[in-house]
Amino acid sequence: MAADTDATLSSGFRLLHAAASAQASRTDALFLAMLLLCGTVAVVLLVLVTWFSLRYRRSRVVDRTPPRQMKGIEVAWTVTPLLIFFGVFGWAARDYVTMADPPADALPISVVARQWMWKLQHRNGRREINELHVPLGEPVVVTMTSQDVIHSFFIPAFRLKQDVVPGRYTRLWFTATQLGEFPLFCSEYCGSEHSQMTGRVVVMSPSDYGRWLASGPSEPGMAQYGFALFRQLGCSGCHDPRSTIHAPLLAGLYGRTVHLQDGRSLVADADYIRDSILVPAKDVVAGFAPVMPSFAGQVSEEDLQALIAYIQSTSARDATP
């Protein structure tokens, strides 16, 4: 086992923590700018209040003729903050938009949160509990859902968090820039053991990660497992080109625009596929009868993620002409 993966969790006290992701350094730059800006304002006001309090205290003899109007200053101290605020808003918003837009080739990780643990799975099937191993320098996208209540996936060293909501998928992506181990916290109160729902993110060199990934207990990959479920649950009975039942073909579905019965159209994403399995009558595809049964109660959140992984792995060329 390589030495650089054995880095222990830091227990020393440091201001502004390890900055271990590409986003972290951007967040820290913005934070510093805000600290300087707000700090200056706070200090100036403190100095003014203190100075006025001392200089104009009752016992002092000093010129107290009422000052004339200061309209210019008032306009200045209204417009200046406004302009600065627009600037800060824009800077922070731009970073936020970046956070919401993972690269297409990001390494996918699936997470299911439940009271009170994190269940993670890599594409090749390797599972982890409360730990996430990732390669250094490669974008990673974590797709998450909850089995029960709202949780929140928080990695302070990466300066990132995202609520994990039951009934839908949320995403968080990052590129780790430092080797080591970093704390993972649940940061949305979720019941008794909320404060014990912690873990760690282990950042390894890409080669170490590759070895780690391959060395786990032998399990089918997520897409492979998803395909097995697809047959086992009977999905292929209808959703196969050779089936006699008229059902939408799913090859290459992920990311495709789907036209629905009531005239709406949407882009097929993970939420759509999940809803179609659990609540099929909700978004019926145009030209098809709403005869699909619901599989609610028959599939776990992990099963759903595997099925989605399978569908993602099919491409349009697999569909029959």
């Binding site: 969790l9 830091s10 227990s11 006290f13 201001l15 986003q23 967040t27 913005l30 934070f31 805000m34 707000c38 706070a42 006001l45 003014l48 209040v49 006025f52 309090s53 104009y56 205290r57 107290r64 003729t65 009422p66 000052p67 200061m70 008032e74 101290w77 209204t78 406004l82 800060v88 808003f89 800077w91 922070a92 918003a93 731009r94 936020y96 938009v97 029960d148 209540v149 709202i150 929140s152 928080f154 302070p156 060293a157 300066r159 968090k161 909501v165 039951p166 009934g167 839908r168 916290f185 940061s187 949305e188 109160y189 979720c190 019941g191 008794s192 909320h194 404060s195 014990q196 609540v279």
Partner: protein, 539 residues
């Protein structure tokens, strides 16, 4: 009551308990509120004491997980709904508004008494829920935890909150109608004291926001009892719908808590700086701006909730905008000091403390309004520190400042000035020691609502818990010396601070009908002059 108040004051207009419990005198109702919210403040404070004791060490070794969760929920529920929201409006507002306007009472005196009974009913129901075993959802009641997973007294607590809400709505209604219709004829809108403006804007929020809370509590109760499927995804519901409905009320609620405090500070600073408040018109407009724009920013509590990008961007921009009128108010208070003649009596110490601590709280709010920063800081102790700076460093300081400022008027007694100043300083120091370290804890990544935490966070937590001890002493002192002053304090006279404002033209304490002769409305509001000789206080 056993004070030897001047004959003919509202305090000896009926000495039986029954006369107090059936009163429609706004001043007596204010006293009823003062006593009850003080009691709730100490219950909420006891919860905070245990929390800080637990958090002095990393391990959760003082109380169990579940007990801790119930404690922070109780602390939030009590402090927000049973203390902060009623504090300044129902105590100081009730007592002072008619006096400041030159009126005999509020527009609907009996409704005022009903408001207090509703508050007590709601408070007692909530207390009952606590005694039966408590509730562990956090004061924010996020679904589906509160609707499907919590095994505690959720519905009972929500009933208590629901009932208390009506107290708020009726108080707001009363204030709005009073300000519109019962002002002294010579008192136009732009001669209203800023405290009255603050009460007006706060009342608009009370009337318009609280009903949304009421309906939200009904929906949560219905979901919990009947599984109607509105918030729980397992039944087809949307947990984010709850968050939108909840925060649509709860964000304006924080302005219910801070606008009255700003009103109090705008009365105190001109008096003790002997200068009219700088930019009166702007201050009034700023109050209205805060109240209205405050309805449009609720989504800044949901930047990482999974709401859309567009929603987050809109709420972030509006949150920056709402900071502008608050900033203007801070600048104007500072400018009021310029070329003043400043005294540092206890009310002024509290008011200056407000300005400093509200400024820090407000500036840290800008960090949270910034989308990318909020992703890191939300749900950590940074947020806890931010809102305590505003609500405790801000609102509670202003409440205490107001209590001291108008204590002579309400009781006819002077509080002991030296002890009051010591308490004010202790509160300021204790407060900063308690809550400033929490900003750093949040930056370091310590999540909130954590019963046990990793050891690297201990040093700052220890500072914080120590500060809480100092703060507690600062809060207990007024209890002692205010009670002392009722029996032994010097007689106050009608206007010990030489303040302007119609309430100071009434006797101290006032008769039931408020004014012996119609009060004189001055040509200018805050008619202070720094270079005029000031009447000496009786000290």
């Amino acid at each position: 009551m056993t004070t030897d108040a001047l004959p003919g004051s509202y305090l000896d207009d009926g000495l039986t308990l029954r006369s107090w419990l059936t009163t429609t005198d706004h001043k007596r109702i204010a006293i009823l509120y003062a006593l009850s919210i003080t009691a709730f403040f100490f219950v909420g404070g006891a919860a905070a004491t245990i929390i800080r004791m637990e958090l002095a060490t990393p391990a959760g070794d003082l109380v169990s997980n579940d007990a801790y969760d119930k404690l922070f929920t109780a602390h939030g529920v009590i402090m927000v709904w049973l203390f902060l929201i009623p504090s300044i409006p129902s105590v100081l507002g009730n007592f002072l508004l008619p006096l400041m306007l030159g009126a005999r009472d509020l527009a609907f005196p009996r409704l005022n008494l009903l408001s207090w009974y509703l508050y007590m009913a709601g408070g007692l129901i909530t207390l009952e829920a606590l005694l039966l075993g408590g509730v562990d959802t956090g004061w924010t009641f996020y679904t589906p935890y509160s609707t499907m997973f919590s095994n505690t007294y959720v519905v009972l607590t929500l009933v208590g909150v629901f009932v208390t809400g009506f107290s708020s709505i009726l108080t707001g209604l009363n204030f709005i109608v009073t300000i519109h219709t019962l002002r002294a004829p010579a008192m136009g809108w732009f001669k209203l004291p800023l405290f009255a403006w603050a009460m007006y804007a706060t009342s608009l929020i009370l009337v318009l926001a609280t009903p949304v809370l009421a309906v939200t509590t009904l929906l949560v109760a219905a979901e919990r009892l009947f599984q109607i499927g509105i918030f729980d995804p397992a039944y087809g519901g949307d947990p984010l719908l709850f968050q939108h409905l909840f925060w649509f009320y709860s964000h304006p609620a924080v302005y219910i808590m801070v606008l009255p405090a700003m009103g109090v500070v705008s009365e105190i600073i001109p008096c003790f700086a002997r200068r009219p408040v700088f930019g009166y018109d702007t201050m009034a407009y700023a109050i209205l701006a805060i109240a209205s724009v405050g309805f449009l920013v609720w989504g800044h509590h949901m930047f990482v909730s999974g709401q859309s990008l567009a929603a987050s961007m809109t709420f972030s921009l509006l949150s920056f905008l709402v900071a502008i009128p608050s900033a203007i108010k801070v600048f104007n208070w500072t400018a009021t000091l310029y070329k003043g003649s400043i005294r540092f009596d206890a009310p002024m110490l509290y008011a200056l403390g407000f300005v400093g601590l509200f400024t820090i709280g407000g500036l840290t709010g800008l960090f949270l309004a910034s989308l990318a920063l909020d992703v890191h800081l939300t749900d950590t102790y940074f947020v806890v520190a931010h809102f305590h700076y505003i609500m405790v460093g801000g609102s509670v300081m202003a409440y205490f400042g107001g209590l001291h400022f108008w204590w002579p008027k309400a009781t006819g007694r002077l509080y002991p000035e030296v002890w009051a100043r010591i308490a004010a300083v202790l509160v300021f120091v204790g407060f900063n020691l308690t809550f400033f370290p929490q900003f750093i804890l949040g930056m370091e990544g310590m999540p909130r609502r954590y019963h046990a935490y990793p050891p690297q966070f201990q040093v700052l937590n220890l500072f914080s818990s120590t500060g809480a001890g100092v703060l507690a002493i600062g809060y207990l002192m007024p209890l002692v010396y205010f009670a002392w002053s009722l029996g032994r304090g010097k007689a106050a006279g009608d206007n010990p601070f030489g303040a302007k404002g119609l309430e100071w033209q009434a006797r101290s304490p006032p008769p039931t009908h408020n004014f012996d002769a119609p009060p004189v409305v001055p040509a200018r509001v805050y008619d202070y002059q720094a270079d005029e000789p000031r009447p000496e206080a009786v000290r």
